[in-house]
């Protein structure tokens, strides 16, 4: 029996040195996935047959001298609102027509498998990436590996929990308003919402088409970059993808923060009354550490945040209402109660409201671009607190630190930056400029080199 690698980068080295084969790695990871189902329930479907087949192919490629890159032979998980050829897609809902997912792999999944990665299974989420966990719907309720009485956050709950617990080394999530970054923060891992248009949405069940993104969740920032490298790029199947070149995502990772200009928008992000003092202290301490390592901190103010949130809400809820409208009445009882009610609020948004929200989006985009012109990245918390016992998000009262970047299409990395006195991870966001993920990764990777939060493992992972 061999030990297991902790990261994708480490696994890639082990696979090339012969310390482990993909079949051994995959077999061990699958065993962990099954063993964790009863307590963590990260998966809706674990795909042993497909995974072992992919692993054998990866090993055969290694044996023939074919190297498809750093993901070859490494198991990954896929949020169950992304289509896969080898497993059904449920979106954690009884409403989604099972025929919808009977298709080839979604583009992001296909690209990972073409890079030699091993498809391990489909992970849990909130119904349609909305609402909150509902035990009456018959799907597994994913728990937070750091404390099984807490939620892992949503909606990419299963992928985040699976990565945090070491069931897989990486996976895919989706993010419309924070669904990668919030669970990344609650689980103490790294999760990137890429620039809107960087990664194809082909094969994803939509939430809100002008805000949805697909992105990676991993333990380290470097691993996030490796996964994004594989899935990024224009896709003829998704006209929202941008026809811009895909840079080397690791090229700027030199471990240095010297000369990096970090924007710190204190107003709102660090001043809202609901912000947990432990979260505020942890994020500001991380900023101080980065300053001590050579970064320049630039205090700045972002305009029209209340209006920007309203625009995000109106666009999200109008677009999701339009998608679900045909099923809302005829399939009412098949939706979880919270999901249905959440979607119905979209009926209150008029066409005029929606267009006005898109106008506000234009105005705020220009204003924020001007406000952040002199900095390389911004740092803000992921959430107002640590993982709660149940999903307590209220769209009308809970301050959001993630939705602004969704509205603007900016890339935003969620990652652990500390722990609460109760032993729960605290997350911060490193936000970059559109299509400048390499700088986001540079800063995140450099931070992980001067901190050790990402090396800690939850108790539930150690018991597997």
């Amino acid at each position: 029996m061999v030990d297991l690698p902790e990261t994708i980068a480490e696994a890639a080295a082990w696979l090339r040195s012969g310390r482990i084969t993909s079949l051994e790695l995959t077999t061990r990871q699958l065993a962990r996935c099954h063993a964790a189902q009863e307590r963590i329930a990260a998966f809706i479907t674990i795909c042993d047959t497909a995974a072992l087949e992919d692993a054998r192919k990866a090993d055969a490629d290694f044996a023939r001298g074919v190297d498809r890159g750093p993901l070859q032979g490494i198991p990954f998980a896929v949020k169950d609102n992304i289509a896969t050829a080898d497993a059904p897609t449920t979106a954690n809902s009884k409403v989604l027509n099972p025929n919808w997912g009977r298709r080839p792999d979604a583009t992001a999944v296909r690209k990972l498998r073409e890079a030699g990665a091993v498809f391990a299974g489909k992970t849990g989420l909130y119904e349609f990436a909305l609402g909150s966990p509902d035990p009456t719907m018959g799907f597994p309720i994913t728990r937070n590996p750091w404390n099984l009485d807490r939620i892992p956050g949503g909606s990419s709950s299963g992928t985040a929990a699976a990565v945090a617990a070491g069931l897989v080394l990486g996976g895919l999530g989706t993010d419309t308003g924070g669904s990668i970054r919030v669970p990344a923060g609650y689980c103490g891992i790294a999760g990137l919402r890429p620039t809107y248009g960087r990664v194809s949405q082909d094969g994803c069940v939509p939430v809100a088409h002008s805000l949805d993104t697909v992105g990676p969740l991993t333990r380290t920032v470097r691993d996030c970059a490796l996964m994004l490298q594989a899935i990024a790029g224009h896709d003829p199947a998704d006209p929202s993808t941008a026809g811009v070149p895909v840079p080397d995502m690791t090229a700027r990772m030199d471990g240095s923060l010297a000369g990096v200009r970090i924007g710190l928008p204190r107003d709102y992000f660090f001043t809202v009354q609901a912000l947990d003092p432990e979260v505020k202290a942890a994020v500001l301490t991380a900023v101080e550490q980065m300053a001590a390592a050579g970064a320049e901190i630039v205090e700045l103010t972002l305009p029209h945040l209340a209006e920007a949130y309203a625009a995000w809400w109106a666009i999200t809820f109008a677009e999701k209402f339009a998608y679900h409208e045909p099923d809302l009445e005829s399939r009412r009882d098949s939706y979880a109660k919270a999901t249905h009610q959440g979607i119905v609020t979209g009926a209150f948004i008029t066409a005029g409201d929606y267009i006005q929200a898109q106008r506000v989006r234009t105005v705020v985009r220009a204003e924020v671009a001007a406000a952040v012109a002199s900095v390389d990245v911004l740092v803000v918390p992921c959430t107002i607190g640590v993982a709660p016992e149940s999903e307590d998000w209220n769209h009308f009262t809970t301050p959001s630190f993630t939705s602004l970047w969704s509205l603007l299409g900016y890339p935003a990395l969620g990652l652990g930056c500390g722990f609460s006195s109760g032993g729960l991870p605290i997350g911060m966001q490193i936000v970059g400029k559109p299509f400048d993920e390499p700088t986001v990764f540079k800063v995140g990777d450099a931070y992980q080199q001067i901190s050790d939060w990402h090396t800690r493992r939850p108790p539930a992972a150690q018991e597997l």
Binding site: S210, A306, A310, E325, T345, A347, I355, V360, T362, V363
Partner: protein, 73 residues
């Protein structure tokens, strides 16, 4: 909300649900009525004077397919 305000909100909620062809449980209707002032307040924020004549951030392409437009084809 006062009783009068609640009644007005309930009337508005019922009208939206009827127009949308949606039926809801009494519990869901009561929740929507309670939420209605918050929804209106949120939507009111969108009436930003600076945005009065801004171009909406939506895209229409006259090309025969969006893909053609996106790729310059």
């Amino acid at each position: 909300m006062t009783a009068d305000e609640w009644e007005r909100a309930a009337t508005a909620v019922d009208a939206v649900l009827e127009r949308s062809g949606l039926s809801v449980t009494e519990e869901e209707r009561a929740s929507l009525v309670d939420l209605y002032p918050q929804i209106l307040a949120l939507l009111q924020r969108l009436r930003l004077p600076e945005a009065r004549y801004a171009e909406p951030a939506v895209l229409f392409s006259a090309a025969s397919s969006p893909v053609e437009s996106a790729t310059g084809g």
